[in-house]
Every structure is written in structure tokens, then in C-alpha cells.
Symmetry: C2
Subunit: 129 residues, 2 copies
């Protein structure tokens, strides 16, 4: 992933409402949520939400599609994962002490890799079992 893209993603994530937004959308997967429902869920005005959604979409962290009069937003899991991967691998050179802090996440990752559950769209089966 490009460095400039990562910087955009970090800047986009460095805002309370936008972090909430990602947190809201990730578990919903491809289904996503329309702008109006997101605004209600997060207590944001329509214009402010649109501003934040635009920032996240430009940063490659979410995607949008039009369905009837609604615009559905969903998390771009590859974009989010790519950003984190850059930080872990390219920036921290997979430093063991940094990775150790992500231990449970790492275990879940390996599980998903091993069982091929990644990309099925379903939430993590046993998380940090």
C-alpha cells in the first residue's frame, strides 16, 4: 500500500466520529448501512456525516453504493487491513514486541488464514478463543 494512502487513512482515523464510523461499519461487512441510519446511530448532522464519510472513502477505508434513494456505506476491509499491515510490517518491521501486543488478534488472524474463513463475510467464529 502506498505511503500517501496510509497517511490519508491515519488522518481519517484520527477523529472520534470517524473512528466510531469504522467501528460501526466493520461488523456489518458488505451489508453496510445507509447514511441516514448512520447519522442517527452516531448522533451526527447529515452534512457533518457526509463530510466524514467522504474523508473515509477518499482514504480507502469505506465504500459506498447507491440503492434506490439511499446510499449504503460499508467498510473496505482490505483498505483497513492494508493500513494496519503497513504499520505492522513496513513501519514496525514486524517487531516482535509490537506484535506481541496484538497477540490475540494475531492468533485470530492465523486461525482465519489456516481455516480459510477470511473473506466469507461472516464475523469471526471464535475470536480469541
Amino acid at each position: 500500500m502506498e505511503r500517501s494512502k496510509v497517511l490519508m487513512a491515519l488522518a481519517a482515523l484520527a477523529h472520534e466520529s470517524r473512528l466510531d464510523l469504522v467501528r460501526l461499519l466493520v461488523p456489518l461487512g458488505e451489508d453496510g448501512l445507509n447514511a441516514g441510519d448512520i447519522a442517527r446511530a452516531l448522533g451526527l448532522s447529515a452534512s457533518r456525516l457526509s463530510f466524514h464519510l467522504s474523508a473515509l472513502e477518499q482514504a480507502g477505508l469505506i465504500r459506498s453504493r447507491r440503492v434506490s434513494r439511499h446510499v449504503i456505506y460499508s467498510a473496505d476491509l482490505a483498505g483497513i487491513g492494508g493500513t494496519l499491515s503497513y504499520l505492522l510490517a513496513d513501519c514496525c518491521m514486524d517487531h516482535p514486541e509490537v506484535l506481541a501486543c496484538c497477540g490475540s488478534a494475531a492468533r485470530a488472524a492465523l486461525h482465519s488464514v489456516a481455516t480459510g474463513t477470511a473473506g466469507t463475510g461472516q464475523p469471526h467464529p471464535d475470536g480469541q478463543g
Copy 2:
């Protein structure tokens, strides 16, 4: 890790010079580097560097210690790891598709956990155990 701390860390990382700084310091571990050498390495003015270092230290991503007339800066691996862990676990709920993007990093993490190579310096104080 606190949410506000994560937001500070993300804002701190969302700047080219500061991302370079972390990238420079992580491989050096506890040894770190003094401010003057960092300034030369990154081509920054002393005042600019001091500003950026302060932002990173406030965000809990680096640490400083005075040695004679030098100030040595080193990466706070637990702080960096904690930030990434928050994003992976609390924000993305360990979503398998996100974790899959960090596959190699995850493998390395598991390896370090399994072999106990993590904590080359000292065990991370506030990481998740």
C-alpha cells in the same frame, strides 16, 4: 488502551515526518537515538524535530531520557503495539478479513508468542496479556 490515547496516537502518526521518525526508531529498540542525529537523519530543523518528538511522546509512541547533554529518544513499543491492538481488536473486532491482510505479521506475532522471543528488552507494561 484509552480511546483518547489512540486518537492522539493516530493523529501523531498521520504525518510524514513523524511516521518516518517511528520507522527510524523502532528497529533501534531501547538504544534509540539522540535528537541531533535524528534531525540529521531525517533532514529536519531542530525546532521542527522537537515539535514532532513532543507530539509522539505525548501520544505515548516514543520515550525520552537525558544522557549528558543529549536527549535520547526510543520507540515505545508497548504504546505502538497497544494502538495497533486497539485498532485490530476493539475497532475491527478481530474481523478475519482485516486480520488476513496482516497475515505475515500475524504469523510473526504467533511465532514470537510461541517461542517467547517477544520482550527482548522488557515485557510490555500495559499490553493485553
